[in-house]
Symmetry: C2
Subunit: 430 residues, 2 copies
């Protein structure tokens, strides 16, 4: 990765550059926090239109990125993440339009109550302030993250992967066009104008109080670095070691449908299942058909002894398999002795992300939903529903696995804080 | 402060001791998270009763603390914070009873909605996990913090000020009695059994993933150390540089009542006013009576030129006065040119804690409440209402001034996280 600064803005000193970005973000955050809902909506609609209007420039920048990428890095998966085409650019604009159309979260009264002394207390949503989003070479994150932050009244500093540098710049330009069309400060969406990795370190330092929260969006290495180094709050995004537990009272056809979807719909998303737990009480009828179905669908199975006994093609699972996020057509399969053993397995090996139980027994479902300590727990539904869009949030900036502030899909509401408004008529405290 | 270990538990190695406490807290957290509401309530009621039953032992321990405190540290204020008497012990037990009687926050569905595909999504409150509370030599915090954490289903590690070491131990014993009477794990409320300050450093390191959040409760030095060193999330508790703004449309009598209460009711609490802003449009009628009233009440006034012109006894304010939390009978007073100047002053010098406007003009009130970015904003009421009890939260563990997760009074609800329960009947994602 090149350490040289690539932008006209860069002064040759990353720390100075970044501090200045932080100052400008903080200064613009107040204007954005107080911006009228209509203005934010109009700015985002204009940004979506600017993405469409500048589609050819964006595609040209993307071609530059792909040409510049080191040939050895261009695996199929990497090229797929990095590449844009006309359809993807259109989808990106559409996604900004969807965020534009969401209800404005700022100022919403989420609860209110009266006190015996006549004080009326309201809890209302407010922006968080300045958000730093650090992501990899997926150009569309530039548009999604920028739009979500603006909608929720926050200023944002975006730091995309260096391989998508030119693409992100072109998309960023469209977002800024949108802001400027409504007289909102351009500094409310800034893109780090250098590929120098020291910029990430500066962001994680908090830029002297200019960053309120850091959102890492990407793989394990990125998230690990952010969590280890950050001196400011982070919305933790651990990997998703997600489970489907087929309970003794599970309908086989439903179990097959859910397991197949949870694993194979898309194997590279964080909500894809990585481990199948089958109750011993139902293994004799359910295990073999589930394994055969998965293998027929092209999935490699790594199983415990009972699973290997059900099908000779099953590879022996090692202890490490139970804690592995494959993000691939591989599934670990284990037979467990009842629901408590399933819950204990998930507690020991899971990542508190997304876990599902398949059962016709409501009491078992209730126990699973109560006792599994994950951001998302499902009954009779695929783990692949772990997605802000599927939750009705319009879009998400990621799936949080921490327990503080944001948990599960992080949409516009999770990008807000709150304050208390207390309305009196002269009350003093005794 | 002594660096030697004082407990029978201590093994001579603070790091080892603390790691072990962390492991035990984490192990007990799950049991507490799943404990039935009735059990938690009964345990806290039993703890309150144990405090009453052991009042003489607690008072004896407190006498030991006071006798041991270095004579030069025993200022009146310090002795007042540290000292217990029969009435204070009774109030402490009463406070635990109040927390016991609060509605259980765990499992409460805070919102639910249906998706077009038939999925029903519920957002429910869950405990946070393990909380570390670091506080100074106020023995009652041991009881309050312990009770609040248990009620919200969390395990807690308490680290009180070393001068209250024996008092805290005696109170802690009563809390553990309560837990044990209901078969809840004693490890759910642990008290650091050593005065060694290295224990604080260990807590701030997160004890290898055993601490989910740190709550500092105390003065500037303590909070500063916690925020600087913590490698885990902190509920930030900045000092309270709180303002009362007397707007041009303020009724003088109401303004006098509110200003007097906001400053003088108790000067040592974080919600006490430190700066009075008077609108220039009303200074000719309101400034002099306000200043005269405050001086008559024993308050020192540090004012700008206009304020000094109103009363000769006013001391000249320096730039630093506008950012100072006196926690004493001192008030800085400034005349400002209209509501925007008042808001700008608060933005520049305040600590986003608690600020109040006195006005008969609803539009001005609305502007102030919307634009002042503080945890608590009030209209025609005293800043001294910044208190969990006054908000109806039953009790509080502190007032948070950060914007993430908790803001304002931190009661049992703010000590919870949430998760999503998704109820389906076989849904898979297209």
């Amino acid at each position: 990765m090149s350490a040289k600064l690539e932008s006209v803005d860069a002064k040759g000193d990353v720390a100075v550059l970044m501090k200045d970005m932080g100052r400008r973000a903080r200064a613009s955050a107040r204007a954005l926090a107080l911006a009228a809902p209509d203005k934010k909506t109009a700015a985002l609609k204009a940004a979506a239109q600017a993405i469409r209007d500048n589609a050819s420039a964006i595609l040209q920048a993307n071609a530059e990125d792909i040409a510049a990428a080191a040939a050895d890095k261009l695996t199929d998966a990497f090229r797929d993440r990095l590449s844009l085409d006309a359809k993807r650019v259109a989808a990106m604009a559409e996604s900004v339009d969807i965020v534009a159309a969401l209800p404005d979260p700022v100022g919403v009264v989420t609860s209110s109550w009266d006190r015996p002394n006549g004080l009326k207390i309201e809890r209302v949503r407010t922006p968080l302030g300045v958000i730093a989003v650090i992501y990899e070479s997926r150009p569309n994150v530039t548009a999604d993250a920028g739009a979500l932050c603006v909608k929720s009244g926050n200023a944002v500093i975006l730091r995309g992967g260096s391989e998508s540098f030119h693409s992100s710049r072109a998309i960023h330009r469209a977002l800024v066009n949108g802001l400027e069309s409504q007289g909102l400060p351009a500094d409310a969406i800034q893109l780090v104008p250098t590929r120098d990795r020291a910029a990430v370190g500066e962001l994680l330092s908090g830029l002297g109080g200019s960053i309120d929260v850091v959102v890492p969006r990407g793989g394990k290495a990125l998230v690990g670095r952010v969590e280890a180094e950050a001196r400011v709050p982070v919305f933790a995004h651990l990997e998703g070691v997600c489970h489907v537990y087929v309970h003794s009272a599970a309908d086989l056809e439903m179990a097959k449908k859910i397991v197949l979807n949870a694993k194979m719909r898309r194997t590279g998303v964080c909500g894809s299942a990585e481990t199948l737990l089958v109750d011993r009480a139902t293994a004799s009828t359910h295990l073999k058909p589930l394994v055969e179905m998965l293998i027929a669908a092209g999935c490699e199975i790594r199983g415990d002894e009972a699973t290997r006994a059900a099908d000779k093609r099953v590879i022996a699972a090692t202890e490490q398999d139970w804690s592995t996020e494959y993000l691939d057509a591989i599934l670990s399969v284990k037979v467990v002795d009842g629901i408590q053993a399933a819950i204990d397995h998930i507690e020991r090996h899971g990542t508190h992300h997304t876990d599902s139980i398949v059962t016709g027994d409501r009491e078992a479902a209730e126990k699973f939903l109560s006792e599994v300590d994950s951001a998302i727990v499902l009954h009779n539904a695929s783990t692949q529903f772990a997605d802000g869009g599927e939750f009705g949030f319009g879009a998400e900036i990621g799936i949080a696995t921490g327990r503080l502030h944001a948990r599960g899909p992080v949409g516009v509401e999770q990008l807000t804080s709150f304050k208390y408004r207390v309305l009196g008529n002269g009350q003093t405290r005794p």
